[in-house]
Symmetry: C2
Subunit: 198 residues, 2 copies
């Protein structure tokens, strides 16, 4: 489908599933670089982190034969100005869910693509972000505890997986659903097509 | 989890997956009754059809031992006043996608629950509907043809699966995502909890 070997610079199984869902063939090379953020605004943070991950892996694959397109992504949850990454422990997960239940919050994902048409040419890049509003139904303390006990929240920004059991507690969204899962594949596909990468 | 044996009166594998996703245990007994609609308004049609399916299966299971809760659902896609069910053939699928691409439309799902606390008491019921707005990116004729060739559209109202390859062409939604997949499990879970059925 693509003249490029697509490389996903992320360890997230959800991002892998989403790229497969839209029919792309790719390999996975998670960036292990330490994340450093200069920005304070959510849309800047996710774009900056997605670019760091993509740059890190692009520097590695560009040494190898073939034409590569590296895709990096980063997702955060923002409620009332507070940025939520992955919970530290179960208590932290309960705290986050207690804040999110019964209200709306935002999910930001930043995406960066880096590719090089020819080794004689400089690499090209795009970076964008998507923001989705998510509304939770109210949750009782018992429901929060039961949900955290499933283990599902522990590796997820904001301590929930919209694509998992938490679906029972979601009233609705405004924006791209897959952006909440971790990768806005609609916008990404459009971007790749526009740049002639598919 | 429930004092009732939950019975899903639908053959849809997507509805089955969604009920499993929120952790419910249930069995499947699709209604084979011919659908008859009296209403013309989308929200009435889906509620009416969900009730017919649930009533059909409830009449069967209520003869059997145990306490049953039957869930019926029906989904339609509406664009500019036109109601779209499943496409008749590939040409029909292309026609529907050509209408939907580059614009917004509505997806309606009606849900009915029927249960009986005790065989001495009359059965109880709830029926509700959810509506979600879905926006498509523009699609070229080649993209429509390629998507139809995957076979994915053929068993789906409106000729697309938001949870499948079509994700590449979805700009965003407003409302419940799972309602578009075929069952608004968030609202359904809240309803079951409210009625003391969980």
């Amino acid at each position: 489908m693509s003249a490029y070997q697509i490389v996903l610079a992320s360890a997230s199984p959800r991002r892998r599933e989403l790229l497969s869902q839209i029919g792309l063939t790719f390999c996975v090379r998670p960036s292990k670089k330490e994340e450093r953020v200069e920005s304070a605004r959510p849309e800047k943070i996710v774009q900056e982190l997605s670019a760091q991950k993509a740059e890190d892996i692009f520097a590695q694959v560009s040494q190898e034969a073939g034409r590569h397109l590296v895709i990096g992504a980063d997702t955060i949850v923002v409620y009332d100005g507070q940025i939520m990454g992955k919970p530290k422990d179960e208590e932290d997960a309960c705290r986050m869910l207690f804040l999110l239940q019964g209200k709306s919050h935002q999910v930001y994902t930043g995406v960066t693509g880096i590719w090089q048409e020819d080794s004689a040419l400089p690499p090209e890049r795009f970076t964008f972000y998507e923001c989705t509003d998510v509304s939770f139904f109210p949750m009782s303390d018992a429901e929060i505890a039961a949900y955290v006990a499933t283990g599902e929240p522990m590796d997820k920004a904001g301590a929930y997986g919209i694509q998992g059991r938490c679906a029972a507690h979601i009233a609705g969204i405004r924006g791209d659903y897959n952006n909440v899962v971790g990768l806005p594949v609609g916008r990404l596909y459009q971007q790749l097509r526009e740049k002639g990468l598919l």
